[in-house]
Symmetry: C2
């Protein structure tokens, strides 16, 4: 049984009454999310393009890879290409899926599909009015160091960068 | 300005009216979460202990590292040690912090502090009634392959395993 608490622009909050495989019945607070796509943009084999984006939830600017929510019915691959151009102004020549992650399966069904973009050509950046970000090109090795040093803290960004590093 | 929509057992849902650094004022749906700790349990230098846990949000069982929410005012290190023993029945001889991640900074302030546990000795498993899980010991190399193959999809688990792998 699902009870709807709130339906917003981004999220829906439900309380689901669930019988677990051990027979226990509980109420679970569940945040329904449309899902998202994210992209590790490789300018060349050694250089990644990151954004430094203002995030209210994080209390300031954080390092991220380009990403955004799926539009209704949108293919994640299309979303990845769209967000890449909108946020950093590049069109991917090639997009390969790296993996799909569950961000916080204790309380949300959000899935982020993560891609790697290569053979990028210039397009046109078109930021939404609620997007505040700057673009940085840095060596992939430096980005990996920023994970170890705690400067990169965003989950999808760490996963994407580590998977690209692991391919080498 | 913050408007409270819902206060639950785990989550609080607010709508925050925020003025961004670009001067735009918007309403943001924000899920407040107490934060959590997670642990990569190393039985020896080549062997990791994972759990396969039922997650309603994921529609079934998923692979994870032991983790749990912070109790009010609880030190994340203490939480990590507590959850390790409660979920898999081991007491860590040594706990080292790997990093802290933002799981989904677009809509929640949740932070997960991730540790590595070594020199583990047997303790006593004590599952909550809403925890349904089994324990697996597998080679770390196999766990890394399971990430690449898409079998491990939980963000904190991928980040923790990749950071332990990166130390080698």
């Amino acid at each position: 049984m699902t009870r709807n608490i709130f339906t917003g622009k981004v999220l829906t909050l439900n309380i689901d009454t669930v019988t677990l495989p051990n027979g226990v019945t509980i109420d679970l607070e569940m945040v329904r999310h449309p899902g998202a796509a994210a992209v590790v943009p490789l300018k060349d084999s050694e250089t990644v393009v990151l954004i430094r984006q203002f995030r209210h939830a994080a209390g300031g600017f954080i390092y991220e890879i380009p990403a955004g929510k799926l539009d209704r019915g949108e293919d994640p691959l299309h979303c990845a290409a769209r967000e890449l151009e909108e946020e950093i102004g590049y069109i991917p020549g090639r997009l390969e899926r790296l993996t799909s992650i569950l961000t916080a399966p204790g309380f949300t069904d959000e899935v982020i599909h993560i891609y790697k973009a290569t053979d990028m050509t210039p397009g046109r950046q078109r930021l939404d009015r609620d997007e505040v970000l700057e673009i940085l090109e840095i060596p992939l090795k430096e980005a990996i160091r920023m994970i170890g040093g705690g400067l990169i803290r965003d989950a999808k960004t760490i996963v994407g960068l580590q998977l690209v590093r692991g391919e080498k």
